[in-house]
Point group: C2
Chain length 451, copies 2
Amino acid sequence: MVERLVVIGGDAAGMSAASQARRRRPADDLEIIALERSGWVSYSACGEPYYVAGYVEPLERLVARTPEQFARMDIEVRTRCEAAAVDLDRRLVAVTDLASGGRTELGFDTLMIGTGARPIRPAIDGAHLSGVYGLHTLDDAAALRTAADRGPGNAVVVGGGYVGLEAAEAFHSRGWKVTVLTSGRAVLDRTLDPDLGAQVVEAMERMGIRVVTETRVRCINGADRVESVGCEGETHPAEVVVLGLGFRPESSLAAEAGIGLGPTGAVAVDDRQRTDAEGVWAGGDCAEAAHLLTGRPVNFHLGTVANKAGRVAGINIGGGDAHFPGVLGTAITKICDLEIASTGLRPTDAAAAGFDAAVGDAQGTTAAGYWPTAAPMTIRVTAERSGGRILGAQVVGGPGAGKRIDVFATAIWNRMTAEDLAWADLAYAPPFSGVWDLIHIAARRAAAQTT
Amino acid sequence: MVERLVVIGGDAAGMSAASQARRRRPADDLEIIALERSGWVSYSACGEPYYVAGYVEPLERLVARTPEQFARMDIEVRTRCEAAAVDLDRRLVAVTDLASGGRTELGFDTLMIGTGARPIRPAIDGAHLSGVYGLHTLDDAAALRTAADRGPGNAVVVGGGYVGLEAAEAFHSRGWKVTVLTSGRAVLDRTLDPDLGAQVVEAMERMGIRVVTETRVRCINGADRVESVGCEGETHPAEVVVLGLGFRPESSLAAEAGIGLGPTGAVAVDDRQRTDAEGVWAGGDCAEAAHLLTGRPVNFHLGTVANKAGRVAGINIGGGDAHFPGVLGTAITKICDLEIASTGLRPTDAAAAGFDAAVGDAQGTTAAGYWPTAAPMTIRVTAERSGGRILGAQVVGGPGAGKRIDVFATAIWNRMTAEDLAWADLAYAPPFSGVWDLIHIAARRAAAQTT
């Protein structure tokens, strides 16, 4: 008997699961049907700002694999099809064909939920005016690019997270006058300490992007189209508003089916990506993952996590035995001339999680001090005061700075101490670092604060 | 009673030791005198090719700390002073003042030997002609720069190691016609597999540097000045010849004093940098270090090793307790548009050391595939077949490739398996990598070959 796997959501988690399951089980053993409400599957949301900027062309470049390519792997993708409800007892998904409006039922033996996340929309007047955009799906990216093409003009970005800042830079690069509004003390305040976030603000302002911190958006003004954004004490003219206020897990379909959610509001899963419902798996932005340091469930919206979770689910659905190893929240971006990255727990996160945290800070350069293009770089290391285990790191600096975070991620993965990292045999040549990498120096300073 | 530490050799190992000893013991407890036969101390030999290229200016930029700066730390530096002999019984160093030719004796309680390495000179006719250069000391760099300034013309580099290739690129950047001659199958053959070395050869030839592999230099021709380099079957015209044939440990002073050498011909030390003579320490290019994977003594000539060894010796001389952690030989360079790095054992090295080695190879790009400046990158991982522990890695690729080696160095440091690294939470954004970094993919492929 051929079993059927239905995948709900055709991006990273869902399609990774589908691919891995197919590698292990041929079509005469497992039929695979993926439902995706947009017209696209398996695309890079992280690449969208660069399409808006005109740096990556055309939009299709952001698609890793098309429905046709999946078809050649015997994976059937049904785009513009939305899973409206799941009936666990009857093993049926109610599917709405968004083109025709028609409703059908699709039986499944195994279900993979990869419904992703939905952008947070502010509960203020004008948020639905024409000219107000999000940046999440490829359709969003196409719409925002069209808007950018109509400029230049005034663009206001609401939110100081990764997506907001990348969108701000995209519009700036297209000649727009850009203002970023954030309630935070600086930008990137979910992953960077405020003094490091302030370095990013400085870099943006140096480039000509205005950043207004610690402000609240009161309303978006306009009759038909947006005209301005109203904050406390100031109104910012805008022909385009980009909302970058973060995401919530899209877990309502699962919840309505009776599948258990965790404390974060995302679908609860074990380390094999199983939900509490028999034969139902989940992963990616809609699901939780265990934090490697705290062991607690978290809900990070990262492509890396989604791909790993989908891979784990797919291997297991395919009859293998894979375990999600845990997550540190390692993330990186490039804003103006700065690379920004973080992993694990900041000092404040560590304290909140119950760790007695020591901190090591180092300022230096991305290359040998005498190297003509050496750029400033700051590394901050969080370590456990007792024993010195590394708990986190933040890096802000010029070209070459950002991917240094991977050394810290690998160190944390291995429960390495700051003292041990301070002696590690890292590579040196003048174009790349000082003879002691700033990683060593920051680790040494953290180690000096530990016992 | 004030004790006296005499440091022989004023570069990385010696001056690191001096600095660390001084931090722990004030001048009224420990007098520190460093002897250096050149006019320079504490300089970056790795930066010299970039001075020759005219990219770094002036020569003094390569000096990390001057004798005057050391004097302010109560460390006396005597430049142009050569240690001619060490009498361990009488605790005396015979010192030749190279300016005056005068000979004096200097007593010591504690001795730190950091005599470095000496370049290998070929035993062929003409190797001492005018126009034939090495590239080791700052004086070498100054002489080679003067020669480069007289050009352009024809430059021949003998040797395909780091120094040779960096010198070749320097002359090429100054408009010279450059030929590299090497006996190896490719270049960088001590750290790269031949097929990866061939990628470097290709990059150099694309840029207009000629590379002749598997050749032997028979003679250097010329009456007064060099005119050409004779190889099997071909003679290469040359106004400048740069010899880059590697280095031997400068351990003769120690050997003549009766201090024990190890199997590599370098000074034998324990993990606190002690030699077999009471109160005599050594480190850097003249000394051995334990390989972290094989446990065997090796003699790598790397600034990173010298600085660590000197630091360990200095902490211990200062009354602390530091241990050299072992070495992987992690190294990196930039040749033309390629970044090249390696750590640990290549498959052949691993086999020679008695490991049953599995190999994982991955070709990809330095950034997301759709990123306009994404450049090709190759990563090769060596792993132990049984158990999957990572033993080494090689990376060759465009900007951003090289420092990825630090992830492998950190992984090996922690005895991480390839399978474990294949799941690690590394950073992703389109300017930096695919959602699975090529590190993951290479590690996964290595893991697939292990049991």
